[in-house]
């Protein structure tokens, strides 16, 4: 790639009901990522029309893709801003512009910040914890094979960043679909020997309005997950468990399947 001197950051910003595009021209540095670019704007908030404007606001935290704060639409794709390197983004599109926009499926707070509280509320609905007796020393937890740990660890790296929810076509104004994030958490807690004891509670939540039956199998979720969580597998596994639970609800007793 020929040596660039500058590039344009085109940002969809503003307050709820008053959003607009604004462009900033920034000096090109091959080590820039979207975060360091936004930090430059903080230091010198002047747009392309050479007008001093309010610095852009965004959420950030660890900057190493493990906290889930800096989710946004970058060139239209939901992802974490910290791992979005400007050089790669320019190369991918062959243009001199990178576009940033807030997620569209969550209420806007300001500029690139949205309120993702809904996903955390869903964690409450599906009983996303292990029901332990208390916080005293009762010896080690149940034994587990390394294979099971491998899957549970992968599921448990979900940062509640919302990329999968944003990318899902079934999550829209006309549907109450909860999205892949929460379905995968149901799988996580049902895979634990102690967590399994509340399995039916979680599966019943998945049968409710907005539950797993709304999944349209578009498979966008797995493609955008920054942690490569096997979300499609989770949806398939929980879908199967929900079916079995429906049967159990009719035919089973607590002590047998």
């Amino acid at each position: 790639m020929n040596a660039k001197k500058s590039y344009i950051l085109k940002i969809f910003r503003g307050h709820p009901g008053k959003q607009y595009w604004e462009e900033f021209e920034l000096p090109y540095d091959p080590t820039d990522n979207v975060i360091s670019a936004l930090m430059e704007i903080q230091k010198n908030p002047v747009n392309r029309q050479n007008l001093k404007v309010e610095p852009v606001t965004w959420e950030q935290g660890c900057l190493e893709e493990v906290c889930g704060s800096c989710s946004m639409l970058i060139n239209g794709t939901p992802r974490q801003a910290c791992t979005a390197l400007i050089a790669n983004l320019l190369k991918e599109t062959g243009s001199d512009t990178v576009t940033l926009a807030p997620f569209s499926k969550f209420p806007l707070v300001r500029d690139l910040i949205v309120d993702r509280g809904r996903m955390f509320d869903n964690l409450k609905k599906v009983h996303a914890w292990i029901e332990v007796d208390g916080y005293f020393n009762r010896g080690p937890g149940p034994k587990m094979s390394q294979e099971v740990q491998d899957i549970r660890y992968s599921l448990s790296t979900c940062m509640t960043c919302g990329c999968c929810v944003e990318a899902c076509p079934q999550v829209n104004d006309r549907s109450e679909f909860v999205g892949a994030q929460i379905i995968s958490q149901v799988r996580l807690f049902n895979s634990h020997p102690t967590g399994k004891m509340q399995r039916s509670q979680r599966l019943h939540a998945m049968m409710d309005k907005g539950g797993i039956s709304h999944c349209g199998n578009a498979q966008n979720c797995g493609k955008v997950c920054p942690k490569k969580i096997p979300l499609h597998d989770s949806i398939a596994a929980v879908g199967r468990d929900v079916g079995l639970q429906a049967l159990r609800d009719i035919f089973s007793f607590p002590d047998r399947e």
């Binding site: 309010e54 034994k143 940062m159």
Partner: protein, 631 residues
């Protein structure tokens, strides 16, 4: 007259320390209000990678909590008070088991038991881990438990809210806080009889550190201005291995070396270096990889404590031996078998994402970076056999009813923290607070319910004045550029290697920045989600902390742990085996520094040697028989 059973507690900060405190307090029947600048699940604890230490001794090594305590005391170069360290290490195994029961996905042995890896500053495999994102997994397990209590109505969360001020009554007793909603900037009072501060470290002072952007230290800075004593400020840990970046230094975990990663540069036999055993040795063989840590520290090799690792990397780079002459060295894991690389996958992925190079194929390029704040709020610790054990309260600051825990306190790590001890100290401290706070509440003879409305109004008013002042400033300085300038001076003069001349000029520089801070102008005057305003408010406290760190470093004329001053190349126990305590005096432009003795009742300081240490059975003396652990 005993008070009505008002068990309301405010916990500020939702990382490992804050959440473990909240969880335990809820179990003890308290009503907990958590205040956090972010969703607690996004707290900086998620960045901890390598693991959590506990001498569970399942690897046939004859390990024990006493050896763990010995390693921790020695790793901290004998500056850490020993009673809290001992109890933390004794509690380690129970904490691992508790977290295991909470569903934290620890790696397993073939038999399905917990697996342990080796970490820096020890010769034992006592670090439990979840891949290479252990902090994230531990935090999530606690976040889940706290959510459980939230559903039960015992915990309330105020996320996207920032602590601004402690409310004290006329007797100086804690009665609540003032906080700000970071979305609508509204100031609000929360009332309670105990406040637990668990707001983490202050890495953001140095801007480019391994810390999250939340780690401004502002809460401690604000409390310090309200009279809280801040201890051992000068001890800042530099992690030997981070990925240099423009916006931050990304951590490359010690576990990369724990699993067998090796640090090297190309040797140059025409150059020589003074080895720690006093001999001058050539810098390897020209053109061949020189594994300098392994050669200079045969016993610990690549797993020397972090202060040593960081200093040696700097020394080698200063000799011009860094990668292509730059300030970088190689960290090589490319020789490791697949199973080991799999355990490190999450951190190797991050390296690949940021550099475009696959660490499984080519050695990584890394450099030391600011990582951990050993100093912090001074907190009390009556030992188990102290006669006044039950009339004092562990983890309470000098402000009555205000507790401090986790990276934001000064305890456990002395002059240098050992890898994988921070997760342990955060959870342990949180659990301790979970049992000490209810006891404190019971000891009170009055409650916030009886406090006069005036104390809350006055506190709100003070914060309103600050808000109007900041919003109204119309100078020419930009607060983010001032931050860059402060960080540049601190990184240059107050990190790995320090000297009195530069420390003195840094002290003056901070004062100059403090003056110029009066002339900032906010580029954003909006009343909604105004991050410039929030940061400008934090920056004022960050400047106070910078003064504490720099002045503490300037005065301490010795070499201890992370505090390395070539002018004074030896540890000096006669003069400097003492805790630094900084107090704020509005009449003076510098912190008032005093010193307190270190509690060394179990182990007399010995030489801190990592060249030929062997596995030994250390003898700790005077261990009390009546230790009661929090779990």
């Amino acid at each position: 007259m005993p008070v009505k059973n008002n068990k309301k507690v405010i916990v500020v900060g939702g990382g490992l320390a804050g959440l473990s405190a909240a969880m335990k307090l809820a179990e003890q029947g308290c009503h907990v209000q958590i205040v956090s600048v972010t969703k607690v699940k996004r707290s900086h604890s998620v960045c901890a990678q390598g693991g959590i230490n506990a001498a569970v001794n399942t690897m046939g090594e004859d390990d024990s909590p006493l050896i763990h305590a010995y390693d921790t005391i020695k790793g901290g170069d004998f500056l850490g008070d020993q009673p809290p360290i001992l109890e933390m290490c004794l509690c380690g195994p129970s904490i691992i088991y508790l977290m295991d029961r909470l569903g934290c996905p620890f790696n397993r042995t073939p038999e399905g038991n917990l697996d342990f890896r080796r970490f820096g500053g020890t010769l034992y495999n006592r670090t439990a881990f979840c891949g290479a994102s252990t902090g994230q997994q531990l935090l999530y397990a606690l976040d889940e438990q706290v959510r459980r209590w939230e559903v039960k109505g015992k915990v309330e969360k105020f996320e996207n809210h920032e602590f601004l001020r402690l409310v004290l009554d006329d007797q100086g007793i804690t009665r609540g806080i003032v906080m700000m909603d970071l979305f609508n900037l509204k100031l609000e009072v929360l009332k309670a009889d105990a406040v637990v501060i668990a707001t983490g470290g202050l890495g953001l002072l140095f801007k480019k550190s391994t810390n999250s952007t939340f780690c401004t230290g502002a809460a401690n800075g604000r409390l310090y201005k309200q009279g809280m004593i801040y201890a051992n400020g000068e001890f800042i840990q530099i992690h030997p291995t981070a990925i240099p970046g423009k916006d931050k230094m990304r951590l490359m975990s010690e576990s990369a070396r724990g699993e067998g990663g090796r640090i090297w540069v190309y040797g140059d036999s025409s150059k020589s270096i003074l080895a720690p055993d006093g001999k001058t040795i050539p810098c390897g063989v020209t053109g061949q990889p020189w594994y300098f840590l392994e050669e200079m520290y045969p016993a610990f090799g690549n797993l020397v404590p972090r202060d040593i690792g960081a200093r040696e990397i700097l020394r080698v780079c200063e000799l011009g031996l860094g990668v292509e002459g730059r300030m970088e060295v190689f960290l090589d894991v490319s020789h490791l078998p697949k199973e080991k690389l799999h355990k490190l996958e999450s951190i190797l992925d991050i390296y690949a994402k940021f550099t475009g190079h696959d660490p499984a194929k080519v050695p990584m390029k890394i450099f030391p970076a600011v990582h951990y704040t050993m100093g912090g709020a001074w907190v009390d610790w009556p030992a188990a056999d102290d006669p006044d054990r039950w009339s004092r309260f562990r983890h309470m600051t000098n402000l009555r009813g205000c507790f401090n825990v986790g990276e934001s306190d000064f305890q456990y790590h002395g002059a240098n923290r050992l890898g994988a001890n921070s997760l342990l100290s955060c959870i342990f401290g949180g659990l301790v607070v979970g049992t000490e706070v209810p006891r404190y509440l019971q000891s009170l003879s009055s409650s916030y319910v009886d406090a006069s409305a005036g104390i809350y109004e006055a506190a709100l008013q003070q914060e309103n004045v600050i808000k109007q002042d900041l919003m109204g400033r119309r100078g020419h300085e930009n607060v983010h550029r001032l931050h860059d300038e402060l960080a540049e001076w601190l990184v240059k003069n107050v990190t790995v290697k320090r000297n009195n001349q530069d420390l003195a000029s840094t002290l003056n520089k901070i004062k100059e920045i403090k003056e110029r801070y009066q002339n900032i102008s906010l580029d954003d005057h909006s009343q909604f989600a105004n991050q410039t305003y929030a940061f400008a408010h934090q920056f004022s406290s960050m400047l106070e902390l910078a003064l504490i760190i720099t002045k503490g470093a300037l005065l301490r004329n010795e070499f201890r742990g992370a505090h390395y001053k070539p002018e004074f190349p030896e540890r000096d126990d006669t003069q400097w085996l003492k805790t630094t305590k900084a107090a704020y005096d509005p009449q003076q432009d510098e912190p008032v520094i005093s010193y307190a003795p270190v509690d060394t009742r179990y182990l007399t300081p010995v030489l801190r040697d990592y060249t030929h240490a062997k596995k030994i059975k250390p003898t700790l003396e005077n261990i009390p028989a009546n230790i009661a652990l929090p779990i």
